[in-house]
Amino acid sequence: MVFAILQRLGQMAFVMFGISTLVFLIFFATPGSDPAARIAGRNASQETIAQIRIEFGFDRPLPVQYVLMMKRLFVTQDLTSYVNRGMRIVPQVAEAAPVTLSLVFGAAVLWVLGGIVFGVVAAMARDTLLDRGLMALALIGVSMPVYWLGEVMNLISQSRFHDSWAFSWVPALGYKPLFSDPVGWFLTLIIPWATLAALYVGIYGRVLRANLVEAYQEDYIRTARAKGLSPARVMLRHALRTSLIPFVTMFGLDFGALVGGSALLTEVVFGLNGVGRLTYQALLNLDLPMILGTVMYASFFVVLANASVDIVYVLIDPRVRKN
């Protein structure tokens, strides 16, 4: 058990190490990213830049810089941004995490439910017009860039129809904390949730449909039908349940990546100060400490999500369970 946890942690460390070195190398290979010049400010004198370079250790060999930065990120946790100077990375990420989690959790609920409804209905109406229609709809969702859809949603809800009854409830963009303002939290997030989910509903619905259709060939489905169960029950309790396994794999990947900050465009469009927006800002500014911070956080979640998928497997598929 201890060994197993250590092994997982080791893998996590491997992933984090891999990503951080890549990020580090890419950063220093990029022209125009000289952090000293950035910190010194617009039109700073050469002397100032030179002093800053020494003070911040940018003159040291890359491995040393790497170790120091990792130490400041993980051990002393006082790593600060190059751009928003004095802004500590760790607390910022910690503060942004609930926003991203709120966004992704809500969207995940929507897209999982939506994906299931899409997949199930399409599979039940297999090869009919309804099936084709639903699958077309799903793909349209996939074809819409999320930043575009988000902007359109804003156009509708914040501008064109903001004063109509349909959207007058939509609050200003931005995040409201769940615990201090649950209603506000919910209202501000509805539209971002829907926007983010639109993409994934399509993907999940399609994949689920394919799995359901396959599951329907299985013997146990025939048994279930021979038991006199209603088609809905056969579908939901028997076919769906066994089809969820690939669904869960994908969910692990997506959820991990999104919680890790992949929802950046959604967060930017809706003014949510989550990890994604942090990442976005950091990327635009080539803010190395912040990039490292968010990326480490993201890889943590990716690995964590994969580990959780393995555990969820055990829950939904007793075949891999201990006897």
Partner: protein, 341 residues
């Protein structure tokens, strides 16, 4: 066997099942008729691919209506069940007619405990609390011979051995005390000791509950041990039908002869070679007009090109042109001599 003639439970007349396939319409079951009385065991034997499973599944309306056409009349307790609405059919499935499907390994949903799966069927047909249904399920598992049914009900299918799974499937099929059980090769995957347990169980249920059974099997030993009546299928048709005793002691169709002859003996002298039917079984879609067995039949003649007549000998009926003494003479040659090279 019953002394008193019980009422007919299932009556199948002219059942024909066709599949729409790549190469056009394929008739897998062709004008099949048989009937089962209450408490009777009918065994269907025959070549693999001859349409046994298809016949069974069409009784329950389990074919995909989009690719299958089912014609003929199937009367269950006098009710024409092929014409029933989907929901009425559902009330019969599992409740009146229980199905044991061919492969116990894959017949159970892998992600649910077997107790749950049995209870699910019970609750689909009877208003019952989940708890009560579970208790019933445990009771049923005990009935089919689990030594510790409570514990067994908590297991997942993959945690059971083949024999246990098959018994779980049987328990499930019996859960609503159906009047008819249709069993598709329920013991093929099992070894003889477990097979014996399962057969015992079926016989006991027949005795205790008056259960009628349609049993598909390849094992002639099983047939002779449990069946009251036998139907022999070949290439989508029932070529011979009769009581078990009649079929075993007085088979009249050349294909049945072949079947009987090819059974390896368990005692006595071991023959050098087993007798087998030469040639190849027809694939559906290429079944010859007229008698389906004709290309492999050693006694085929010109008349066989036409659809053979149905002959009756007592309770027995047979689809063959052969008749009378000629037939008996020919039979002797088959059942005693070896297959010619």
């Amino acid at each position: 066997m019953q002394n008193v003639e019980k009422p007919v439970l299932l009556d199948v007349q002219g059942l024909t099942v066709s599949f729409v396939t790549d190469g056009g319409l394929v008739r897998a079951v062709d004008d099949v008729s048989f009937s089962v009385r209450e408490g009777e065991i009918l065994s269907i034997v025959g070549e693999s691919g001859s349409g046994k499973s298809v016949t069974l599944l069409s009784l329950l309306g389990l074919h995909d209506p989009k690719t299958t056409s089912v014609d003929g009349a199937v009367a269950f307790r006098g009710q024409r069940i092929l014409e029933l609405s989907a929901s009425a059919m559902r009330r019969i499935r599992g409740k009146e007619i229980g199905l044991i499907s061919q492969d116990p390994m894959t017949a159970l949903t892998p992600v649910y405990r077997i107790g749950w799966q049995i209870a699910e069927q019970i609750r689909a047909h009877e208003p019952m609390s989940a708890r009560a249904a579970r208790l019933r399920a445990i009771e049923l598992l005990g009935e089919v011979g689990f030594s510790n049914p409570t514990e067994a009900s908590e297991r997942f299918p993959h945690q059971l051995s083949g024999g246990m799974r098959q018994r779980a499937v049987i328990a499930m099929a019996l859960s609503c005390r159906p009047a008819l059980l249709v069993a598709d090769e329920p013991t093929t995957a099992l070894d003889v000791t477990v097979q014996a347990q399962v057969l015992d169980l079926l016989l006991r249920l027949r005795k205790d509950l008056g259960l009628a059974i349609v049993l598909i099997t390849h094992d002639m030993g099983v047939v002779s041990e449990v069946a009251d009546k036998v139907a022999v299928m070949y290439a989508g048709r029932i070529v011979e039908r009769g009581t078990t005793r009649e079929i075993f002691s007085n088979p009249v169709h050349p294909y049945t002869w072949g079947l009987m002859a090819s059974i390896p003996p368990l005692t006595g002298e071991r023959p050098k070679r087993l007798i087998s039917i030469g040639g190849m079984p027809p694939t559906p879609g290429s079944i010859p007009e007229g008698c389906g067995f004709q290309p492999r039949c050693r006694f085929a003649r010109a008349e066989c090109a036409a659809r053979p007549p149905t002959r009756r000998i007592g309770n027995q009926s047979v689809l063959c042109v052969l008749d009378g003494e000629e037939r008996d003479a020919l039979r002797k040659t088959v059942l005693t001599s070896e297959e010619p090279a």
